[in-house]
Amino acid sequence: MELMQLVIGGLANGCIYGLVALGFVLIYKASEGVNFAQGDMMMLGAFIALGLGNADELGLPFGIAVIGAMAIMFVLSWGVERVVVRQIFGQPQFALVILTIAMGFVFRFVAGSIWGYSPLVLETPFAGQNLRAGGIVVGLADLVTIGVTILLTLGLWAFFAFTRIGLAAQAASQNQMAAYIVGVPVMRVNSLIWGLSGAVATVAGVLYATKGAIDPNIGLLGIKAFAAAVIGGLGSLPGALLGGLIIGVVEPIAGRYAPGELAKMSPYIIMLVVLVARPGGLFAQIQMKKV
């Protein structure tokens, strides 16, 4: 029974990792680049939702605030791609890593300047509402998190699997030149994907905010979410979710049953084990080069 409780809590938490991880995968799938500012985009999204929704700010209804935040973050991320990221198009992936690390600092500064550095609580309709069934307590927020994550993963998966643009984005990540010569507007697709990942990050941020308070440094969570995405196999959306869920579930179970420091190390030990066994992640795509 207790284990069940742990697993459910872990799943909900893992879904948040998974959601942030989805953002990483989105951008990776479209450009094979890693956006180290993904966690900070999540943070910014959460703050924008707070700015729109909280009673002492704009006070819009929660749903509208979230959708509005998603829209704003979509436009913002899209613009960031157009104005900044695009400048290093075709440059080695490392350039993007440095660029996004630096962008993370800027995002934190922006959020800190607007909302201050003290923790704030996002007002949500699910706070404190719990469902009980057979001795297991499930927070409404957890249920919403799990549901939204599944929906988003499915939606994005379908986007890549079935839409023209989704396919084009993948093509662009594998060979930018070839994508261009079949007529894919690679840069514009990139902007779109960045926009999408901003919107997804917002959802992750809002759901994360249901668990506690937010401050400009919650983006640090991005590092762990990134690790989750990687052990899932960075190019795979279900992989990202699975990676997030693994980390999410391992944490509370190890926290409950593993002794002392081992509990803290266990997510990282799991990561190492997964990577040693499957060096390209759980859902690795072909690695070996055909010569």
Binding site: A102, F109, M177, M265, L275
Partner: protein, 365 residues
């Protein structure tokens, strides 16, 4: 325009192509050696700090720049170097022994880690090293008798043959010590890169299949490279410990790993010089920003000190502008400037305009 006539293979094998570049290095070395006579404590301490970062940067450069093994965990190796050195010195070993041993211990640890990690590349390796970092961090907390746990430890004072090289007691000596170590490592690194071992590193980076076909044992090469990389990083860690004087595990945070990554990439991946330029950037630019901010306040009464995080933000913007302006790093830009002067009258204005370039998947090696 300078033309170098090569009359023997030694010209290519030598570290310097011609006397001129040798002279430049000599002048630079002389300036560095004489620095304590010209500058005050502030600048000298900053110079020592920059050299330590350059040393750590060289360490990471071997892995990232020369064998293409990205590491997000090098802070862990700094920590291992620092704690090993301090522990050995506390056990009574002199610095002259404890220091190299700290490097070797760290190197062996790194080399062992690299063996199971050999099939990983790029981002996957980066995450594996991040995991190693997280585990080492916990171990540092656990090994309280050696590391002082959360509380931290005081770095022992360096004495060599009865002369003090203490950071806070004898900064000049400490600076010269660091300078000598950095010079030695740089020389060894440069040697490595003109020898078969260095070439095998580059081979593994660019094409694993070809490297294998040429008889290069990829596992061993990558493990050696990672071992050398972590070994040098361990040396830097030991020095950083002495430089800070007092430290606990929080000194070696993930941000240090990220900063190191900035050092090698902004400096110029694959160039020894890049490690130095990158270290200069990461240590000096924030100071320059802070000094400029003070200057604004003092001279124009514009007080920006009250805007929290502004320094960091400006630094980030400089990074962004820089990477947009020159994605191949500071050293790449320097090479271009040099070429421009060398062929001076012939240079076209837009000679270095970037031609469009495209990426291909790097998932297959």
């Amino acid at each position: 325009m300078r033309i170098v006539f090569k009359t023997s293979y030694d010209k290519d094998i030598d570290l310097h192509e011609h006397g001129w570049s040798r002279a430049k290095i000599a002048v630079l070395a002389a300036i560095m050696v004489l620095l304590p006579f010209f500058v005050g404590e502030y600048y000298l301490a900053e110079a020592a700090n920059t050299l330590i970062w350059a040393l750590a940067g060289m360490g990471l450069m071997v892995a990232v720049g020369h064998t293409g093994q990205v590491s997000l965990g090098h802070a862990a190796f700094l920590a291992i170097g620092a704690y090993t050195d301090s522990a050995l010195m506390n056990a009574g070993l002199p610095f002259l022994l404890s220091f190299p041993i700290a490097g070797i211990v760290t190197g062996i640890f790194g080399a062992i880690i690299a063996i199971p990690a050999v099939r990983m590349s790029g981002i996957y390796l980066a995450i594996a090293t991040l995991a190693v970092f997280a585990i080492v961090e916990e171990l540092v907390i656990l090994l309280e008798p050696i590391t002082g746990g959360v509380g931290g430890i005081m770095a022992p004072s360096i004495q060599i043959f009865g002369i003090s090289f203490d950071r806070y007691g004898a900064l000049d000596n400490f600076y010269w010590l660091i300078l000598a170590i950095v010079a030695l490592v740089t020389w060894g690194y440069a040697n490595l890169m003109r020898s078969p071992t260095g070439r095998s590193f580059l081979a593994v980076r660019d094409s694993e299949v070809s490297a294998r076909a040429l008889g290069i044992n990829v596992t061993r090469t990558r493990s050696l490279a990672f071992g050398l990389s972590t070994g040098v990083t361990g040396l830097a860690g030991a020095l950083m410990g002495h430089y800070i004087g007092f430290y606990n595990y929080e000194l070696f945070s993930i941000f240090i790993s990220i900063n190191l990554l900035l050092v090698v990439t902004i400096g110029g991946l694959g160039f020894i010089q890049g490690a130095f330029l990158g270290a200069l950037l990461i240590t000096a630019v924030p100071q320059v920003i802070a000094i400029a901010r003070d200057g604004l306040n003092a001279n124009f009464g514009i007080d920006l000190g009250g805007i929290p995080g502004l320094d960091t933000m400006i630094f980030a913007v400089i990074l962004i502008l820089f990477i947009i302006f020159e994605p191949t790093g500071l050293y790449g830009r320097w090479l271009k400037i040099r070429t421009w002067f060398e062929i001076f009258p012939l240079a076209r204005r837009d000679m270095f305009r970037r031609q469009k370039s495209y990426l291909k998947t790097e998932r297959m090696k």
